[in-house]
Structure formats: C-alpha cells, structure tokens
C-alpha cells in the first residue's frame, strides 16, 4: 500500500465532467492533452474514461439544472481522495450564464472545489498551471 500510494503521487489520472459546458473548455482540455506543444502527460497525468479510476476531476460548464443530478452522481463515483478543478469561468461563477433560469451553479454550491482556472476558455498553458496546482494538493492528500 505504501508503495502504491508513493507511485500514485506521480501519476494522478484526470477525469473530465462536462456540466453543461459550451464545449469551448473541453476543446482546450483535449488540446492540452493531445498536442505535443502542451502535453499534460509530462506531469504524469492521463485522461481516463471511467470516474472510478480518477484522481483529479476537471469540471467544465456552469452546472445546468438538467445536468445537475447526473454530474453529482458521476462525482460520487470518483473514489476519495480526489482533487476538483473548475475549468473556465462558468463553473467558478457562472460567467455569462450567471443567474440564468436554467443554471443552478456555480459548482462550489454542491461540490468541494480545490483549484479554479478562470478564462473563457483558459488557454492550455493556464490549464496546465492549474493542474500543476492540483497535483500539489493531490500529493498532500494521498
């Protein structure tokens, strides 16, 4: 177990939750992972397909009323300890959708957020900076 936790400090897996995003931040997240110029996998991270494998959660979108329950259900499936990162201004404050009838966010009303990366969308460099902060928190938590 000691060996495992020592190793997992160096390889936190990322999982994306789209909480009603316009897809802008999701494109930037894909760019961060897939384009060699940014290459988030240098930091030991990797996107995973299942919430059960995730360590760091990246949430995009302002949390619409329709998607809220699904987001919370998927979030519950992610094992503890986990680090939550809000990507873009939407999950942080609602951005341009703030106080709209269909928005129940910001997400920190429902989820414990650790790191915020504002921007509309944040550039990949900013996302990497935010993930680096999340990895520091992750190393302290495990």
């Amino acid at each position: 177990m000691n060996f495992l936790s020592r190793m997992s400090k160096k390889s936190p897996w990322l999982y994306r939750i789209n909480a009603g995003s316009c897809n802008g931040c999701d494109v930037e997240l894909a760019t961060t992972a897939c384009i060699p110029r940014y290459d988030v996998e240098r930091l030991g991270c990797q996107y995973c397909g299942s919430p059960k494998h995730a360590d760091i959660v990246l949430v995009t979108g302002p949390l619409t009323a329709r998607v809220k329950d699904k987001v919370l259900r998927v979030y519950e499936e992610i094992p503890d300890p986990k680090v939550t990162v809000a990507i873009g201004v939407c999950p942080i404050s609602g951005g341009v959708f703030r106080e709209s009838y269909s928005i129940v966010g910001p997400i920190d009303r429902y989820l414990p957020v650790d790191v915020n990366v504002p921007g509309c969308p944040p550039r990949p460099q900013a996302i990497i900076e935010g993930i680096a902060k999340a990895i520091e928190i992750w190393a302290g938590r495990i």
Binding site: R37, Y38, R42, G95, R98, V115, C120, A126, E129, A132
Partner: protein, 166 residues
C-alpha cells in the same frame, strides 16, 4: 528520402513542448487576458459596466470618489469594455496566470478609486476631467479649455455665459 531532411530538421529544432509549468511560455502581445484599469484615464462614463456580458465590472459612488471593481472570475475576456472605452482607461493585458486555490476565489479582484476633485470655482466635488479625454476632445488644449476643465458643470456654464475668461 524526403523523410531524412524532416528528421534532421526535427532533430536540430529541439522539443516543441513548452516547458510549462517550470518556465514561462511566450504569450502573444494581442492575447486577451486579465483586465487592467487606469484610474487616471477613467472619465466615469460606466460604459464598461454596461457592456460587460459577465457582469464582472461594478462601479460604486463613494463620498471620496467613484470606485471601480472587477472580479476576474466572471470576466470572459471578450474585450468589449476596452472596445467601448473612449479614453482606453480599461485594457486587456496578456497576463493569463489566473489559476488560484478555492480560498482565493473571491480575492481575485482589482479595485481602484477615481477620486473626486474640487471645482476650482465653488469647491463642490466632481469627477476630474482626465488628460486622455482632453486629448481626445481637443486637437490643442487652449488656456480657456484648460481653465474650464477644473470647473464643475454649473460654474462652467456661468463662466461660459458671462464670458469672463478669454
């Protein structure tokens, strides 16, 4: 054999990955990042507050002046504020280092005070006329307009009508 030249080129070029987060990465000068505000150029028209789609900008009347506030966590870097700012008091810098811990969420603000000046005629408080506005309004600032600039609207009106300034 074309691949050999590409291979050589790539070998000489070095890695294309940016060295983040250990070193900074080059940012284009025109990149729309964190908003900056220059209180000496602001004329208090509040157009930026009106056009801001995220509602990031707030103005507040205070006894000592007009207070400007921006919360970067709801700013979408659209640049409308800077586009509509006559005197370019509000601008977008290319600073994108905005990621922060949750504890600092509500501290990611910038505040500035456009302090009231006293009218040189009657002493009432008024927003000072910025240099930037004078340059915008007049090709050459005459002594007369320089004098009128420090008067409140009432004093300016009476000074213009009585014609006591030449």
């Amino acid at each position: 054999m074309a691949f050999l030249s590409i291979l050589m080129k790539n070998l000489l070029k070095g890695p294309s990955t940016e060295p983040l987060p250990t070193a900074d990465s080059p940012t284009p000068a025109a990149y729309r990042g964190k908003v900056t505000f220059d209180e000496t150029a602001c004329v208090g028209c509040k157009m930026c507050e009106h056009v801001c789609p995220g509602g990031a900008i707030r103005f507040e009347e205070r006894p000592e002046g007009l207070r400007f506030m921006i919360w970067h966590n709801t700013c979408v870097n659209c640049g409308l504020c800077s586009h509509y700012c006559l005197t370019k008091a509000i601008k977008l810098s290319n600073d994108w280092h905005l990621s922060h811990l949750q504890a600092d969420k509500y501290r990611l603000t910038d505040q500035a005070l456009v302090a009231y000046a006293a009218c040189s005629g009657c002493g009432t408080k008024m927003l000072p006329t910025a240099d930037a506005l004078m340059r915008l309004a007049y090709k050459k600032v005459s002594p007369r307009s320089e004098h009128l600039r420090h008067l409140c609207p009432d004093c300016r009106r009476s000074a213009s009508v009585s014609g006591d300034i030449q």
